[in-house]
């Protein structure tokens, strides 16, 4: 029998809009940046102290903005209250509504404890904001024990965020591209790449670039892992060892869009790897490419995964438009990140001189 021609098909449009891509992108980067701040700010390793400060800034910028994208996807932000009034604890998404505040409370407490001595020093300098700095410093003590305790809360929250964001998507059997145990790993590894990218970007903007070799060494490792996970998925799909990857590959077959997207992802990942490996002192390009890669993985998984028909042959290809749910939303979130970055860097210096 020949392939049927669908004369009248009904494809559903994407239900998770670019808000989902942005949330997973930003929260992943925030958690990865939080972990990158630990060696410098908790264990006080000299080589990591500059990175630690920029990583803390990245964790704050992305962590404070990510939930905004999530709320926007609910169509009516006040609905988030139902997550706490009627939680269904069998759902990963319900657990996420508890993990997000846990992580953010841990992150904010950790950031405040790390910044207290600096806030006290800023208060000492005088100026219009000195009263505010003094109040925020609350004595200005450096409390390594308290920092460690807050870091434990933040780390627990960050690990649970990485777990739930991966599992929430992985458990959806109806989407063959999502239903693979490799997905949580891919999200976590690409979050680390993106986190390193964001820290590298901030290092290039406000640091002295001394940490470039260290960042690039870790970037190289994360890109190898990304390539390894993509290869493992392809192996599972081609060999037919796992049904869902095989189904997803069958749905992609013959699609020029998927072919070009996959080639672009592999090409840019390889380029990021090559730059991080062979240009250890260069910060900006590997950083931007890594951020691009972390975004692309999520865009392909979410928007591409929803393009694959569950029933019939029709696809409802998502196309960017100038609507608040689309390009304007993406630009708006980027603007929000920039605003938070400007506010934080205006109030507190994050460069190495401030540390000294």
């Amino acid at each position: 029998m020949n392939h049927p021609v669908e004369i009248l098909g009904f494809a559903r449009e994407a239900a998770w809009l670019p808000w989902a891509v942005q949330y997973f992108f930003l929260i992943g980067i925030s958690t990865a940046a939080f972990f990158l701040s630990l060696p410098g700010l908790v264990w006080r390793l000299p080589a990591w102290q500059g990175i630690g400060r920029r990583a803390l800034l990245a964790a704050l910028v992305c962590g404070l903005t990510a939930p905004v994208a999530l709320l926007a996807d609910l169509h009516q932000p006040g609905r988030f209250l139902n997550f706490y009034l009627h939680p269904n604890l069998g759902s990963w998404m319900a657990w996420g509504s508890f993990f997000i505040p846990l992580y953010l409370i841990g992150l904010l407490l950790y950031a405040w404890l790390c910044l207290r001595p600096q806030l006290a020093a800023l208060a000492e300098r005088g100026g219009q904001l000195s009263a505010l700095y003094r109040r925020l410093a609350y004595g200005g003590h450096d409390s390594p024990g308290a920092i460690r305790a807050a870091a434990v809360v933040g780390a627990l929250g960050a690990l649970l965020i990485l777990l739930y964001t991966g599992m929430e998507v992985m458990v959806v059997e109806a989407r063959p591209l999502w239903h693979t145990p490799l997905l949580p790993l891919l999200f976590a590894v690409s979050a680390v790449s993106g986190g390193l990218g964001m820290v590298g970007l901030f290092e290039a903007l406000i640091g002295q670039g001394a940490a470039a070799p260290l960042i690039n060494r870790w970037q190289e490792r994360s890109q190898w892992l990304t390539l390894g996970l993509l290869a493992a998925w392809l192996l599972l799909a081609v060999s037919g060892l796992a049904a869902s990857p095989a189904d997803a590959l069958a749905a992609m077959r013959g699609s020029l869009g998927w072919l070009l997207s996959a080639a672009w992802l592999l090409g840019t990942t390889a380029l990021t790897l090559w730059l991080a490996r062979s240009r250890r002192d260069v910060l900006l390009w590997p950083a931007l490419l890594a951020l691009h890669g972390a975004w692309l993985v999520r865009w392909m998984v979410f928007m591409g995964g929803q393009n694959m028909p569950k029933m019939g042959a029709s696809t409802h290809i998502y196309a960017l438009s100038l609507s608040p749910d689309s390009v304007l939303g993406i630009v708006g979130m980027a603007g929000l990140c920039l605003t938070v970055y400007i506010i934080l860097t205006s109030i507190i210096p994050w460069d190495d001189r401030a540390e000294a």
Partner: protein
């Protein structure tokens, strides 16, 4: 005598005078056992007229372009070159193990004792997790309400002793609705008569659907490895002109 109303199309029309006389059929039912509503779709009787699609849209005030039920239509050719029409009326399968329920973060989706899967609109947050989890693409986020929407088997009509709108309007009698717990109901009789010939969509998903099909073409029961005419057609909005 059956303890539940036989809500098949034929039985409905037989009982119509009684209904119009104000003797609602459900009122006669003695509650010996609970009903379990299901649907049988005989694709051999479907002519793809989309009357069900329209009746559902009118009954449930679905937003433009969003449908709770549809009839997907295919041209299927044999190796000998003969081409024929194949249809697949689709709706919520009111599964026995609905994958949409466990994922809902606020417990807004639930299954009633009578087998109907519903969404509590007061509780739904519009996160669309259930939309992703449904293997049958039966759910969508309603543009008007911003909440999950799907076929309810027209529960408001069933509770009033009426048939779902799609069943009532079907010109070929392709949709048979009724109580599968009642052995005397038309749907039970037809399922028994067609034993071994009925199919469900995506049985491998393990959802145990309660929408059954007679005459379902195997290659149409999930993602179809074929082409969509929509991709081949000239569309002014997309291609200009």
């Amino acid at each position: 005598m059956s303890s539940h109303p036989d809500l098949s199309r034929r039985a409905f029309f037989t009982a119509l005078p009684a209904v119009t006389a104000g003797l609602a059929v459900p009122a006669q039912a003695a509650e010996d056992s609970k009903p379990h509503w299901s649907m049988l779709v005989d694709t051999r009787r479907c002519i793809a007229c989309q009357a069900c699609t329209m009746a559902c849209s009118m009954e449930n005030a679905s937003p433009e372009g969003e449908f709770r039920t549809v009839v997907a239509t295919y041209a299927v050719s044999t190796q000998e070159g003969k081409t024929g029409l194949a249809v697949l009326p689709r709706l919520c399968n009111h599964c026995e193990q609905p994958p949409c329920i466990p994922v809902c973060p606020v417990g807004a989706t639930f299954k009633r004792e009578d087998g109907i899967v519903l969404v509590d609109g007061e509780r739904c947050v519009g996160c669309a997790y259930c939309v992703q989890a449904c293997p049958y693409d039966a759910r969508f986020v309603n543009h008007h309400t911003g909440k999950a929407d799907k076929c309810t088997f027209c529960s408001h009509r069933v509770e009033a002793g009426l048939l779902p709108a799609c069943v009532e309007t079907c010109v070929g009698g392709a949709r048979i609705f009724g109580d599968v717990n009642d052995p005397q109901s038309d749907i039970s009789q037809r399922l028994k008569a067609a034993e071994g010939k009925t199919r469900v969509l995506k049985p491998e998903a393990g959802t145990n659907p309660h929408v059954f099909y007679i005459g379902l073409d195997d290659q149409l029961s999930g993602r179809v490895d074929g082409v969509s005419a929509a991709d081949m057609m000239w569309r002014p909005g997309h291609q200009g002109g």
